[in-house]
């Protein structure tokens, strides 16, 4: 029972281990925990935006470490140097303060922060600039799944987002119900999806592959399984994908029968399958559901077995989900499973 994507398995192994060793070394005394570390977005990043954040992160962490080790070191020194020895009952020499020192330790951090602020402004500029030829994509958050619309391509899909490598994406973020947040750690940052408001976000993926993301603003019941996958295709692959997705569902002899089952079981009240009469608008578009890698916001992989499990009782798979248990008969279940898996 798990999403089938582990995009990092092969890549970045060295970088990950190195960073783990680095961080691990730093905290080895403090914490054996760090030995397990694979600090994902802090060392990997496949968009200029993500790398810009990464660089800034390490600069700031560097400054923080100076203060961290400086002060923790001072504390240790104080502990060993100034602890009262046995028999040392009296008071210490009374020192009431030192104005010059006090002023210095006010000014120095202030100056450091000014520099950090300048870095911040620069990085924000890098991360928010949208290129002129950007591909517009609308992301709509629903409890607990993602709707993706490509207004210029006529594509509507759910939970799996495809983008072409090397092209800037101009996201418009909206919500159909409560506040969600759109986060793809390796591609840099996140932004909330807020009802009644359109937010913008952008990045350019520069490496083909599949990326994990998640809703990272608590949005009720099944927030944990509001995950998403982004697939970065080469421009040619992307074009082919978009063309296939824009097409209506393929219809065959068997599909007419399956569609009847689909309609009888009220599926069509919620779901749309373009090219058929099913045109519900409150649930994921299923026109090409067979082509996606996961189901139910990442809770299941997409294969015949998992599809059957989903349809049998989505509540058991993803508790709280807004799709009811429809008590499908065994026949209907296998018909629908085969049909939906066939919608590539």
């Amino acid at each position: 029972m798990r999403a089938a994507s582990a995009p990092l398995a092969a890549r970045g192994w060295v970088a990950r281990r190195l960073a783990a060793a680095g961080l691990g070394g730093v905290f080895a005394l403090l914490l054996p925990a760090a030995a397990f570390a694979a600090p994902y977005w802090a060392v990997l990043g496949d968009s200029p935006q993500a790398r810009s954040i990464q660089h800034l992160f390490w600069i700031v962490i560097g400054v923080a470490f100076v203060f961290l080790f400086g002060i923790e070191g001072a504390l240790l020194y104080v502990v060993f140097r100034f602890r009262a020895r046995p028999g040392d009952e009296g008071d210490a020499p009374q020192v009431y303060g030192n104005r010059r020192l006090e002023v210095w330790w006010t000014i120095v951090p202030a100056l450091i922060l000014v520099v950090m602020f300048i870095f911040t402004v620069r990085a924000v500029g890098e991360e928010t600039a949208v290129a002129p030829n950007a591909l517009p994509v609308t992301v709509i958050g629903h409890q607990w799944w993602w709707e993706f619309r490509y207004p210029t391509l006529g594509v509507v899909t759910a939970n799996e987002l495809h983008v072409p490598v090397g092209r800037s994406i101009d996201f418009t973020l909206e919500s159909a119900d409560v506040v969600h947040s759109f986060w793809l750690p390796l591609l840099g940052g996140k932004e909330q999806l807020i009802p009644g408001q359109k937010n913008r976000w952008t990045f350019t993926v520069d490496k083909a592959g599949s990326y994990d993301g998640a809703c990272s603003e608590y949005c009720g019941g099944a927030h944990a399984w509001m995950r998403l996958t982004l697939v970065a295709d080469t421009p040619a692959q992307f074009e082919a994908w978009a063309k296939a997705q824009a097409a209506p569902a393929a219809s065959t002899g068997a599909s007419a029968q399956a569609l009847r089952v689909f309609t009888q079981n009220a599926c069509s009240q919620c779901h749309a399958i373009r090219g058929t009469t099913a045109s519900g608008a409150v649930a994921p578009d299923l026109t090409h559901v067979g082509s996606r890698t996961t189901l139910g916001g990442g809770v299941l992989a997409n294969n015949a077995g998992d599809m059957a499990r989903w349809l049998e009782n989505p509540q058991a798979v993803k508790p709280g989900v807004l799709m009811p248990d429809l008590h499908l008969s065994a026949d209907d279940l296998s018909t629908l499973t085969a049909y939906l898996e066939g919608l590539k």
Binding site: F36, I71, Q94, V124, Q197, D212, C215
Partner: protein, 555 residues
């Protein structure tokens, strides 16, 4: 003008005490010390509740795709954990301590309005009970401690939980505002002769600043909660986006409260540090004026940083920059405090008794949380870590590593005053080390989980990357933490029954609360003491080198 200070140990017991039953003597009490203790006991009970909730969460998160809790249960539990810890454990503890100490420290017999004080406490107790009643009354709140609209709207939260939540926060907020007024007026009007504002203990200063923060921050929360209730119960549309309501406004109003709130939880802790560290270093605080001034500066700044919780809601960049800059600026006065404490200990003759151990633990751990706070204030970094476990790590380092360590420091320090008995040093040292280890095991890995992309408030997570391992460590750590808390409870229990007698001033401290008996009589001081300087008891012991002789040169 001359005045006298009685030497310790010469105070008669209560004069003409009435014969109440034991229970009534507490419930009907308007004595600031009894009320303070009731606050503290209440807060410890809620701390245990919040702690047990956190253990349930940790158990659920210990392994990937665990099914120990359903999502619905988990969501209620993390909400209750956050609300309980903030509003019913930390705040009552700090206000309880303030209640107990402020009159004693400034040489007063009680607070300005003793009955209002009792009213505040009972309001708090009542609202806490009401909050917990929601488990029975149809379900606990489940929208997170900041209950972002529209998740609390009736359409999305159909149980009554969020109504209980809103009501409980309104009522406890009123109680807190009343206490704050009480504490401010007390400090302004009931100081002993000689106790000028430049001489009051730093703890009292921090309480004053905290009280002003409460005064101006809590009504904002009240406003938000009243509107939530109106939406839920009267069908109003404040946060109904379909009717044009603004969910972003909810966030603004919440954080206008919410950020000062985190300093409401931090400043009294800073105050405890500024009392404990000098006494155990056997030196005066290093630079009183800067310490007080930085506390006041934090107070003012804290009203100008709220939207750093909202870098991901799509504000204009100018707004983002403004709030980023102010948030970074808060590092400056906070840094002053840290440097000051180190400088106070520097060159001291440090007695590492338990209060001092926890104080050092505080500096060491709060520093980590403070520095991670600065990373959050950097807008692009926040875009990554907002809503992730990195943030959870940040606020547990400041809240547990900071405030809770200060709380334990304060308990070990003042328990002898409150009860007349010492806590066991041996158990205290054990508690400290077990806690330090458990704390870091629990919360350090959360930074890494955040860097790996784990969102907060998820009841489970897929088995990928190293999340399973990190979470397992964290869960292990939380149970070690629980052991340390149990050691503490045992220590309390044993000391109350058979602790060594404390005497009036076991730590050889210098502020006025140590000038009376332990526990102090109902009237605090037989004769109102005189504050000859910031450290009246030092002057008493060292007439040859009194403190006030140094006040001019080191103002």
């Amino acid at each position: 003008m001359a005045a006298t200070v009685l030497p310790p140990g010469t105070y008669p017991k209560d004069i003409g005490g009435e014969s109440h039953t034991w229970l009534l003597s507490w419930v009907a009490s308007v004595d600031h010390k009894k009320i303070g203790i009731m606050y503290i006991v209440t807060s410890l009970v809620f701390f245990a509740a919040g702690g047990i909730e956190s253990l349930l969460m940790r158990w659920q998160l210990g392994t990937p795709e665990n099914t120990f809790l359903t999502p619905d249960e988990y969501n209620q539990i993390f909400t209750m954990h956050g609300v309980t810890m903030i509003f019913f454990a930390v705040m009552p503890f700090l206000f309880g301590l303030a209640n107990y100490l402020v009159p004693l420290m400034i040489g007063a017999r009680d607070v300005a309005y003793p009955r209002l004080n009792a009213f505040s406490f009972w309001l708090l107790a009542f609202s806490g009970i009401m909050l917990y009643y929601s488990w029975i009354g149809g379900g606990a709140p489940n929208a997170g401690w900041y209950g972002y609209a529209p998740l609390t709207e009736h359409a999305y939260a159909t149980s009554n939980g969020d109504s209980y939540y809103a009501l409980a926060l309104i009522l406890s907020g009123i109680g807190t505002i009343a206490t704050s007024i009480n504490l401010i007026v007390t400090t302004i009007y009931h100081r002993a002769p000689g106790m000028s504002l430049r001489r009051i203990p730093i703890f009292v200063w921090m309480i004053i600043v905290t009280s002003f923060l409460s005064l101006f921050a809590l009504p904002s929360l009240t406003g938000d909660m009243v509107m939530v209730l109106a939406d839920r119960l009267l069908g109003a549309h404040f946060f109904d986006a379909n009717a044009g309501g603004s969910d972003v406004m909810y966030q603004h109003i919440f954080w206008i409260f919410g950020h000062p709130e985190v300093y409401i939880m931090a400043l009294p802790a800073f105050g405890v540090m500024s009392e404990v560290i000098p006494v155990f270093s056997r030196k005066p605080i290093f630079g009183y004026t800067f310490v007080v001034g930085s506390g006041v500066a934090i107070g003012f700044l804290s009203f100008g940083v709220w939207a750093h919780h909202m870098f991901t809601v799509g504000m204009t960049l100018t707004q983002d920059y403004f709030f980023s800059a102010t948030s970074m600026a808060i590092a400056i006065p906070t840094g002053v405090k840290i440097f000051t404490w180190v400088a106070t200990a520097w060159g001291g003759r440090i007695r590492f008794r338990t209060p001092m151990l926890f104080a050092f633990g505080f500096i060491a751990m709060f520093l980590i949380g403070g520095l991670s706070g600065v990373t959050l204030a950097i807008i692009p970094i926040d875009w990554q870590v907002n809503g992730s476990y990195y943030l959870v790590a940040h606020f547990h380092y400041v809240l547990f590593g900071g405030t809770a360590f200060a709380v334990f420091s304060g308990v070990f320090y003042w328990f002898p005053k409150m009860s007349g008995r010492m806590l066991s040093e041996r158990l205290g040292v054990w508690q400290f080390w077990v806690m330090l280890v458990g704390f870091n095991l629990t919360f350090f890995p959360m930074h890494l989980m955040g860097l790996e992309g784990m969102p907060r408030r998820v009841y489970t997570y897929p088995d990928q990357l190293d999340l399973g391992g990190l979470n397992a460590i964290s869960t292990l750590g939380s149970f070690i933490l629980a052991v340390s808390i149990i050691i503490f409870i045992v220590n309390l229990w044993r000391s109350i029954r058979s602790g060594a007698p404390a005497g009036d001033n076991p730590w050889e401290a210098w502020t006025l609360e140590w000038a009376t008996s332990s526990p102090p009589p109902a009237y605090n001081f037989l004769e109102i003491p005189v504050a000859t300087s910031r450290r009246p008891l030092w002057d008493l012991a060292h007439p040859e080198d009194p403190d006030w002789a140094h006040e001019k040169e080191h103002g």
